[in-house]
């Protein structure tokens, strides 16, 4: 059962990512990306990283991809605009490159796959390591300082977004 869920969500995640880049229509791409992210969230939950899984759904699928949709609608992108450009590489080269990269990845992961012997040094993670409560106790005690720094970071993000996205017209009127 566990294995079945893993394979199904892994295939959905990889397939969704693939479909995302194959789509000409940007809105369809975003929807496939959401599909891929939800499947990824399932994988995280299977690794008992519940918090990361829920974060993926709430922040990515919930907020960031909505933002993507807004940007696509704002720029009024249509799929057909991308078709006319001449590709830099021909198909054969592309496929060869993809296969080579894939092989490289497989070899790398096979090679390194964090050596078993290092486990002895690390403190073994408790079974509920990725759950919400353990994350919370770490975040609000040991990692309190980076947590508070994050709030400054988010504040800067709001300010930056407002400055960049706001039109200046109103201000000019206000100054007169």
């Amino acid at each position: 059962m566990e294995l079945a869920i893993f394979y199904i969500s892994a295939i959905v995640a990889a397939g969704g990512a693939l479909m995302m880049i194959l789509q000409r229509n940007p809105v369809a791409s975003v929807l496939y990306l959401i599909l891929s992210l939800v499947a990824l969230a399932v994988l995280f939950v299977q690794l008992s990283a519940l918090f990361v899984g829920s974060l993926l759904i709430i922040v990515y699928a919930g907020a960031i991809l909505v933002l993507f949709l807004f940007v696509i609608m704002l720029l009024n992108l249509r799929g057909e605009k991308f078709t006319s450009e001449k590709p830099i590489l021909d198909k054969g080269t592309k496929i060869t490159l993809v296969v080579l990269f894939f092989m490289e990845l497989v070899i790398l992961i096979k090679q390194m796959a964090f050596p078993q012997r290092m486990d002895s040094l690390m403190t073994q993670a408790s079974p509920d390591f990725g759950g919400v409560e353990p994350v919370a106790t770490l975040l609000y005690t040991k990692y309190l300082y980076p947590f508070e720094l994050t709030s400054i970071l988010l504040l800067v993000a709001i300010v930056g977004a407002v400055i960049m996205a706001k039109r200046d017209k109103n201000e000019e009127e206000g100054e007169r």
């Binding site: 964090f114 290092m118 040094l121 980076p146 720094l149 400054i152 300010v159 930056g160 960049m164 200046d168």
Partner: protein, 487 residues
């Protein structure tokens, strides 16, 4: 949590609140006096510097925040560069950015706060957040001329490259965490050596992690081959921001690099550790930076692009001290950045003033400056000669120290490359001086900097000459700050 000395956080907290105060001031007042925001930003930075002198030394949050000598040394550089960037911004503040003055100064202060947190970070998560806090305001600042296509392009390029490099850096940091099971840099060092001593080798995961961290920080430092963004961004961004980018954010990257590599991965900086030796990778990158930066700078006609390539080359010199990974190496890096602060900020300040007056960044338009504004031509010559490393200016002592550290650590070939390229660099620096002094064209332009810009120029010139002739105090301090790494 009771036995901690919270007071060492005061400078950072003060500067953060001061930045909020400037935002509030901008929202509150009806823009009666355009200069008040700039002066209050400068005042805030000065007070932060004083607070830093009072409240320092100690650790907080179980060592996540370290107010050690290295952090303080670099914090002075950050505050100095922010101070000078603000000081040289008064002219553009009254014209080009008059709708967003408060945000402009506030974001500079936010970025400075980020750098300060970054330089105190002894732990990977904090280091990463500090780095983001440094760069996110800079993305916005680079695109601050919203009507100027070049500036918006600069902001966008910087944002995309910056986000990409942050992702790579984060990947590298998470690999380091995965390999060692800790985010604390000192514990990381211990765990890595334990594994190494017990088993004699570490998997290729560490190489991958090191390459990713080098690439991630390399992007921030504009180290070759991660420098492609720098000339366009430097050219398009408002000039004071370019100066701040090239000094402040580079110094921040240097601190991050020193903390991770020279402290955490110090065991892997020697030939014995092949292929895990990061020293050789960084040495090759530094050589490439010096060669490519200096040679490309020769062909530039725009002063901001020329200074961009020159700063790509300069970071190569800094990295010579870094790969030495010794006490002298870190001290020379600190000293180099300190002098670089004065020389580069000064040169960019002149470029800012000149651009305000003429709207031009072309080197050719500087011709005859020596006749109309002899003082500023002399200032500019001092800055450029210091960047080239001519005695008795500060740049000479800085380069000398860096090279000494490099030779001491056995990187003789790298020092030879550095020497040859600095001869090349003299050509394009001298070319500007030649244009200013010996051009046949009739001079027309006279520049009048505002009072704060004058102040910045004066501080820079005095700093370069004073610390060039008497490098002692700063060098002693830099050596003191390098001691924290326990080589």
């Amino acid at each position: 949590m009771t036995d901690q000395n919270w007071s060492i956080l005061i400078p950072e907290i003060f500067l953060f609140i001061w930045a909020l105060f400037i935002f509030g001031l901008d929202l509150g007042i009806k823009r009666k006096n355009p200069k008040i925001l700039g002066y209050s930003a400068m005042a805030g930075l000065t007070i932060t510097g004083i607070l830093l002198a009072i409240f320092n030394g100690g650790i907080l949050f179980k060592g996540m925040f370290q107010s050690d000598q290295l952090a303080i040394f670099f914090k002075v550089i950050f505050i100095g560069s922010a101070f000078m960037a603000v000081g040289s911004s008064f002219d553009i503040a009254s014209e080009k950015i008059r709708h967003h003055r408060g945000e402009y100064y506030g974001l500079i202060l936010f970025s400075t706060v980020g750098m300060m947190f970054l330089s105190s970070a002894s732990e990977l998560i904090t280091l990463y957040i500090g780095m983001e806090l440094t760069t996110i305001p800079l993305y916005v600042l680079a695109a601050f001329y919203k009507d100027d296509k070049l500036s918006v392009e600069a902001g966008l390029k910087y944002l995309i490259v910056g986000a990409f490099s942050s992702a790579i850096l984060l990947y590298g940091l998470s690999l380091l965490y995965g390999l060692t099971g800790t985010t604390d840099i000192v514990t990381m060092k211990i765990n890595l050596s334990l594994v190494f001593l017990s088993y004699g080798k570490i998997g290729p995961g560490l190489i991958l992690a090191m390459i990713m961290v080098i690439a991630g920080i390399g992007f921030k430092l504009a180290l070759v081959p991660f420098h492609m963004w720098a000339p366009d961004v430097y050219q398009g961004a408002p000039t004071p921001i370019t100066a701040f980018l090239s000094v402040g954010s580079k110094a921040a990257g240097v601190v991050a690099f020193a903390r991770i590599f020279v402290n955490g991965l110090i065991a892997f900086a020697s030939d014995v550790m092949k292929p895990l030796d990061w020293g050789i990778i960084v040495a090759i990158l530094a050589a490439a930076a010096m060669i490519l930066g200096n040679i490309t700078a020769l062909r530039q006609r725009n002063i901001k692009r020329m200074l961009a390539y020159s700063s790509i080359a300069q970071i190569g010199y800094v990295m010579v001290g870094m790969v030495a990974a010794s006490e002298l190496g870190i001290a020379s890096v600190g000293y180099y950045m300190f002098i670089y602060l004065f020389a580069n900020m000064g040169a960019f300040t002149i470029a800012t003033i000149f651009n305000d007056k003429t709207g031009s960044d072309g080197i050719i338009s500087y011709s005859g400056l020596s006749k109309t504004s002899p003082i500023f031509a002399a200032y500019m010559s001092i800055f450029l000669l210091s960047l080239a490393g001519i005695p008795p200016l500060g740049g000479f002592a800085a380069k000398y120290l860096v090279f000494a550290a490099g030779i001491q650590a056995g990187y003789t070939w790298l020092v030879i490359v550095a020497l040859l390229t600095s001869v090349v660099s003299l050509y394009y620096y001298a070319n500007i001086i030649k244009t200013m002094y010996f051009s046949a064209e009739e001079p027309t332009i006279k520049i009048h900097p505002s009072f704060p810009a004058n102040l910045v120029l004066l501080i820079s010139v005095i700093g370069i000459i004073l610390f060039g002739i008497f490098p002692g105090p700063i060098l002693d301090w830099a050596l003191e700050s390098a001691k924290i790494f326990a080589f």
